[in-house]
Structures are given as structure tokens and as C-alpha cells.
């Protein structure tokens, strides 16, 4: 977390080589473990609980799913094994400097050239964009608007015309970058006919994985608050014996349990490919975002002054809760999406 890379390569190797986690949801023929969304979400929940700083969400969740959803057979065989092994880091670039998560707002243009495409424009808020080896970029073909003409493109991060800059950001546990493309050469991932579909599918899967990561984090904060309430003594009694604290903790537990149910249910629905799963992705993202942040706020409150210090780790969870709240679209965006997806 303290380094420019933002993670510990030794831990990443362990997580990849010993536990094979980056490929947990990747089919075996592409070098993965062959599980699905539910198992991927169990992993993100645990990583969220531990607040692991590692390029997992970018490589496994965003890039891994983007390739699975969009790539041709040949591209999946070529790209996925390295990601599944953790040998190569990758990420997905969707949002641009305006911070809009609706792919319709994408302005980066991919112009067909002699040999593939040339990318022009800027992406921002790209998770681990500063360390990724492989970039997957959502862009549009020239002279298209809205959801028309969208597709995913891949290129090596060291390709010509790619300029990357680590952004100064509030959450030190997860790094984001801005990437400018000046006629950078890229290949089409999959085909142009699928349009925005694989992008939306990837974002919805990511929302569910993030919701599970967030409920893991929220549980850790709740545990920390409960433990502190049992230890800290004021007025001759532990603060956990005051009803104002007890009741707040009971409400926090209820909140966390409800958000967990939403996150688990959405993961299950996505794994079974139930028709309503994209709506549930938005439901779970909105629910978990609110709960994670509220639990973080209450956890700091229950810790009192020490909760506001740099030395107490609570602020790291708070900052992860804050960045997760807006990453992939804030709760109000997902509530609106939910209403639309339910046909209200």
C-alpha cells in the first residue's frame, strides 16, 4: 500500500501460485480453476474483509470477465492463462475524466487502421492502471453515439501512444490511474456486433463482486467496533454496556446482514444467469455501498478519538468504503438503474 505499485508482489505471487485465486472463475481450458461467480464473490468478500491491497479486482474481476464475456476463442486462449496464473496484470478502462459509468458516455475513439485500431482520447479512474501489463479499453468506432458502436480493445500498457499517470487519491488501498491514448495501436476484443453488451455484462458482474467485497469489509468493521466496545471502559463500565452503543451495534449488525443477503443473492442469480440478475447487480451494489460507508462511519464513532487517527486502521476501511461507494457508480445511479431494469 505504501509503495508506488500499491501492493506486495510476494503476496500476489502466493495468492496466484499457491491459491490460484486470479483464475478461480476462469474455465479450466483457459488455465483457470473452473468455478463461477459465487466462488469469485467468496474470494472478493474475504479480500474485502482483510482489506488486501492487490491488483485482484482489476486483473481477475474486471479484465478476466471482460475477456470471458467478449473475447474470441483464440483471444481467450491467448490472454486468460497468464492472467489466471497471476503472471500478467490487467485492467479494464471504461470511465473517462467526466466519471460517468454509463458506457453511452464513452468518447475514446477507435479508428480502424491497416493493422487493427488506433485509440484516441482519455480514460480515468482506471483501477491499477499504473501497474497493469494489459489494458482493455472500452471505446467507440468513429462517428457513433450512445450505446452504438461500442466495443472493447486490448493493448499492452507499454505500447506507443499510451501515457499513464497514477492519480493522487484518497483511498491508499486501491490505486487508480489516468491513461491518455494518442493514436495507440490496439486490437479488437471479440467483434463489433456485440456492441455494448459485453461491457455492460462485465460492469454488472463487477458490481456484484464489489458488493461482496464491501460486505466483507463491513463485517470486519462491525467486528472491530464490537470488540472495542467490549474493551473500552468509561464511567466505570465498558462502553458496550451503554444502550446508545449497544443499540447502534445491533442496528449495524442488521444492516450488514441485509447487505450480505443482497450481495449473496445477486451472486447466486448471476451464476445461474437468471433473467433478473443485472437488476440485482444494481440492487446489491447500492445496498452494500450504503451499508459499508455507514458501518465505517459508526465504527469510527464508536472508537472515539482514536478512530480518527492515522495509526488506527479503521480509516483505511473507511477510505475503501468511500472509494467503493462511488466506484462503478454511486448508490443513486444504481437505484435509478434498478428502477429502469424493473421496468418502473
Amino acid at each position: 500500500m505504501g509503495t508506488a505499485e500499491g501492493y506486495d508482489p510476494a503476496v500476489w505471487r502466493q495468492l496466484s501460485e499457491d491459491l490460484a485465486l486470479p483464475g478461480i472463475h476462469v474455465p479450466e481450458q483457459y488455465g483457470g480453476a473452473g468455478f463461477g461467480m459465487v466462488e469469485l464473490c467468496i474470494v472478493t468478500e474475504e479480500l474485502g474483509r482483510a482489506l488486501l491491497c492487490a491488483p485482484y479486482f482489476s486483473t481477475a474481476v474486471l479484465a478476466g470477465n471482460a475477456i470471458l464475456n467478449s473475447g474470441t476463442e483464440a483471444q481467450k486462449s491467448a490472454l486468460l492463462p497468464d492472467l489466471a496464473k497471476g503472471a500478467r496484470l490487467a485492467t479494464l478502462a471504461v470511465t473517462e475524466p467526466d466519471g460517468n459509468w454509463d458506457p453511452a458516455s464513452i468518447e475514446v475513439v477507435a479508428t480502424p487502421g491497416v493493422d487493427g485500431y488506433l485509440l484516441e482520447g482519455a480514460k480515468s479512474y482506471v483501477l491499477d492502471g499504473h501497474v497493469a501489463d494489459l489494458l482493455i479499453v472500452a471505446a467507440r468506432t468513429p462517428k457513433t453515439v450512445g450505446r452504438e458502436g461500442l466495443a472493447l480493445f486490448t493493448l499492452g500498457a507499454k505500447a506507443g501512444g499510451v501515457e499513464r499517470r497514477l492519480l493522487e487519491s484518497m483511498d491508499p488501498t486501491r490505486k487508480i490511474a489516468r491513461i491518455d491514448f494518442h493514436g495507440a495501436p490496439a486490437s479488437l476484443l471479440g467483434n463489433l456486433d456485440d456492441g455494448a453488451k459485453p461491457i455492460l455484462r462485465t460492469l454488472d458482474q463487477a458490481a456484484i463482486a464489489l458488493a461482496n467485497e464491501m460486505v466483507g469489509g463491513a463485517q470486519a468493521l462491525l467486528d472491530s467496533a464490537v470488540n472495542y466496545a467490549k474493551l473500552r471502559v468509561q464511567f466505570g463500565r465498558t462502553i458496550g454496556s451503554f444502550q446508545a452503543i449497544k443499540h447502534r451495534l445491533a442496528d449495524m449488525l442488521l444492516d450488514v446482514e441485509l447487505a450480505k443477503s443482497a450481495a449473496y443473492y445477486a451472486a447466486q442469480a448471476a451464476a445461474m444467469d437468471e433473467p433478473e440478475w443485472p437488476a440485482l447487480a444494481s440492487l446489491a451494489k447500492a445496498a452494500a455501498s450504503e451499508t459499508y460507508l455507514q458501518t465505517a462511519i459508526q465504527c469510527i464513532q464508536i472508537h472515539g478519538g482514536i478512530g480518527f487517527t492515522w495509526d488506527n486502521d479503521t480509516h483505511l476501511w473507511f477510505k475503501r468504503a468511500k472509494s467503493s461507494e462511488v466506484f462503478l457508480g454511486q448508490p443513486s445511479y444504481h437505484r435509478e438503474l434498478l428502477m429502469q431494469r424493473w421496468g418502473v
Binding site: G240, L253, S261, Y265, R335, E336, L338, W342
Partner: protein
């Protein structure tokens, strides 16, 4: 012993239904058959009107009954809380005397727990029971007793020892409500209905055989009743919407349901009627307002998450975890959902939310929601009490400080 499986159970219940179900029987006659065969409550023990089946298979049986349109055993009101309590703590004589008539619907029950001086603090009951020969003689007052005006029997928590500490001086009885010493007076609620009552006991009699558990164990027995009540609160059974069924038995069931449900007519409204929200948003055009869309989504997210949480708790229970304090989480969630729903119904309805009666939105249902929701966070143990339970039993936080130890006689009271 061979393990029972779903196919066998289905075959067996189908065969039994083919031989026994007849819509022209009388309701009680049919329910007696259900009780005696064990198909009415298949999850109950074999020796007591059940078949000892796991819950998952009991649902299979229910499905088969509903497939042929057969009426089930009586389940409304407090009767199943009474049954659960008797199954756990009752004597064989009590089980024999009461369980069957609970299932046939011949007897109606109520719960005499709350008193004017003790609601949240149930163990502070001062209604007294004194043993005199073969009878316990009951004097005192209960209040907020739902359905007492229809009830044949009441679950009574009364003090039998004033020198013992509060929780150890209570005993639990089944009392006959329809006797001269019991005076039931209806109380009108803020929503205009009168489903609860105040009840005065003046030398009312309880035969010794109706003591449930041992003398002084009343608190323990009451906890069983309450745990079942709280669990029920997260998914109050709504009346099934089966099509018009013909036959004497169906006519009798409709009449009985009408009567039994009379005190509970407004119960769906007190839960907030989340089911109406999206329809109402569409019919009023509120679904075009971005602010309302946000508020509706917030409510729906909470309601759905609560529903899935209840499902997770049930799944855990089916894997053998005992009935625990998670009922309190469900009850607290239900309060939050109901309040949020009342808020959203008001937003959607706007100025018209002031109107009541037949000309008002949804013929008064919306108004009834708004004035019924406050009951949810009080009845069956207040939200604050649920939070205490969750904090102490789930999170293992310190218990409330006590000011009511020592002989009950000396404890400060209202």
C-alpha cells in the same frame, strides 16, 4: 430405518388424499382426519398429530394438499404459538386435551402476557395465581390481549411466588377464557379497529392440570412462546389467494377465516404493504419523479434484502440450528421496512394522504397503512427490546444493569 424421501412422501400423501379428501365433508370432520393422520402438521412428532418429517418435506405435503385444493389445519392467530409451547413444555395430558382442537379449529387462543404495569418487562407481571385445593385462583389484569374476545383459552403468565426473585416467581397456565371470573373489554386502537382487549380476572379458576411446566418455571416457558412469535414476525403469513372453491368444507372455511381473521384484518397494512408501492407509483405517475424513484428503490432494496435475510435464517435452521435470537433481527427489519413503506406511500400519495374512507386512495387502504404501521415496532416486543436481545445474545455485549434483583415483593413497580 429407511430414510424417507420426497418421492415416497408425495406418493403416500397423494394416496391418502385420494382416499380421504372430500369437499362436502364438514370442516371439523376433515381437519380431524388431517390431525389424526399426521398430514396436517407433518413436521410435528408422530405421537402428537404429526409424522416427524423434516421441514423441507412438510412443504412437499403442503404442496400436495394445495394441488387437490384441500383445506389445511387451522393455523391463524395465537394457536400455533400455543401448540409450539405445549409441544415443548406441556404434559401428555395437556397435549392430548388441546393440540387436536387447535388443529381442527374448534378452539381459539390468546396470549395473556402484557399488563398495564409490565409490557417490555414481562417478567414484572403482578397478576397472581394462588393454589387453593385443586385449583389455581387468578386475580389481576392483562392488557393489549389480541383476540381475547374470540378466545376459548389463554396462555397466562402469572405470579405464584412474591418472595422469589422476579423471573423465578412466575408460572405459566392455560386458562379457560369463557368463565365468570374473566371479563374481556375491547380496546379501540389508533387505527379505529378493536383487535386487542383489556381483561380482568376476579377469582378466575385454573385446574391444577393446566399448569404448563413446573411452578416457578413460567419465564422459561414464556420464552419459548416469544421466540416463536418473533420468528413469525418476519413473514406474517398472508391469506392464500386460492380461487373460489366449491363444497361445504370451503364455505365453512371461508366463514371461519372471516371470523378468525377479523382481529387481524389490518395486519397486512401494519407491515407497510410494500407489495402495493410500485403499482401505486405507476397509477399516480410518481414513477416519473426522480426523487420518488430513489425513495422507492431504497425501500425495495431494504424489503428484498430483509426477505432474503429471513430466507438465509430459515435455511440455517433447516440445517439443524435451533430457534435462536435471529427472530429479533427479522422483527427489527420488519419494523424498518414498515416505517420506510409508510414514508414512501405518503410521498406517492401526496396531499390525498390526508383522506380516509371509501373515497380515499385505494378505498382507505393507504390511510390504514399510515395509521397501522406504528404497531409493528411495539407488538411482540418493541424495537428497543429486540436491539437489546441482538446486542446481548448475538454480539455478546454486556447485559443491561439490573435494579430488580432480590425478592419481587421489594422491587419497584408502576
Amino acid at each position: 430405518m429407511s430414510k424417507v424421501n420426497e418421492t415416497e412422501v408425495r406418493a403416500e400423501v397423494r394416496e391418502w388424499l385420494a382416499a380421504n379428501w372430500d369437499p362436502d365433508m364438514s370442516l371439523v370432520e376433515w381437519r380431524s382426519k388431517l390431525a389424526d393422520s399426521g398430514w396436517g402438521m407433518p413436521q410435528w412428532p408422530k405421537e402428537w398429530y404429526g409424522r416427524g418429517l423434516p421441514h423441507a418435506l412438510a412443504r412437499v405435503v403442503e404442496e400436495e394438499l394445495s394441488n387437490v385444493g384441500a383445506v389445511g389445519v387451522a393455523k391463524s392467530g395465537v394457536r400455533l404459538l400455543a401448540a409450539a409451547t405445549l409441544l415443548e413444555h406441556g404434559s401428555d395430558l395437556q397435549k392430548k386435551k388441546f393440540l387436536r382442537r387447535i388443529l381442527t379449529g374448534e378452539d381459539t387462543w390468546c396470549q395473556f402476557f402484557s399488563e398495564p404495569g409490565s409490557g417490555s418487562d414481562l417478567a414484572g407481571a403482578t397478576t397472581r395465581a394462588d393454589l387453593n385445593g385443586d385449583y389455581w385462583i387468578v386475580n389481576g389484569q392483562k392488557v393489549w390481549t389480541t383476540s381475547a374476545h374470540h378466545a376459548d383459552h389463554g396462555l397466562l403468565l402469572a405470579r405464584t411466588d412474591w418472595d422469589a426473585p422476579k423471573h423465578e416467581g412466575l408460572s405459566y397456565f392455560v386458562i379457560d377464557v369463557k368463565q365468570p371470573g374473566v371479563d374481556v373489554q375491547p380496546l379501540k386502537q389508533m387505527n379505529g379497529h378493536a383487535s386487542f382487549n383489556q381483561v380482568f380476572f376476579t377469582d378466575a379458576k385454573v385446574p391444577q392440570e393446566n399448569l404448563v411446566g413446573r411452578v416457578g418455571e413460567g419465564w422459561k416457558v414464556a420464552m419459548t412462546t416469544l421466540a416463536h412469535e418473533r420468528r413469525g414476525a418476519d413473514g406474517l403469513a398472508s391469506p392464500s389467494k386460492r380461487g373460489a372453491r366449491v363444497g361445504r368444507i370451503h364455505a365453512e372455511e371461508r366463514a371461519e377465516t372471516e371470523k378468525a381473521n377479523q382481529p387481524y384484518k389490518w395486519y397486512p397494512q401494519r407491515a407497510g404493504r410494500v407489495d402495493l408501492v410500485i403499482e401505486r407509483a405507476k397509477e399516480t405517475g410518481a414513477n416519473r419523479d426522480p426523487h420518488m424513484r430513489q425513495e422507492i428503490a431504497k425501500l425495495m432494496i431494504m424489503a428484498k434484502s430483509a426477505e432474503w435475510t429471513a430466507r438465509r435464517a430459515r435455511a440455517a435452521q433447516q440445517q439443524g440450528r435451533p430457534q435462536g435470537p435471529e427472530g429479533s433481527l427479522g422483527k427489527l427489519a420488519a419494523s424498518n421496512v414498515a416505517r420506510a413503506a409508510a414514508h414512501v406511500h405518503t410521498l406517492i400519495t401526496g396531499t390525498e394522504a390526508m383522506l380516509t374512507g371509501s373515497g380515499s386512495p385505494r378505498d382507505g387502504i393507504i390511510a390504514e397503512i399510515l395509521v397501522s404501521v406504528p404497531a409493528v415496532s411495539i407488538a411482540g416486543g418493541t424495537d428497543e427490546i429486540q436491539r437489546n436481545i441482538i446486542a446481548e445474545r448475538v454480539l455478546d455485549l454486556p447485559k443491561e444493569p439490573r435494579f430488580d434483583t432480590g425478592p419481587f415483593r421489594n422491587v419497584r413497580k408502576n
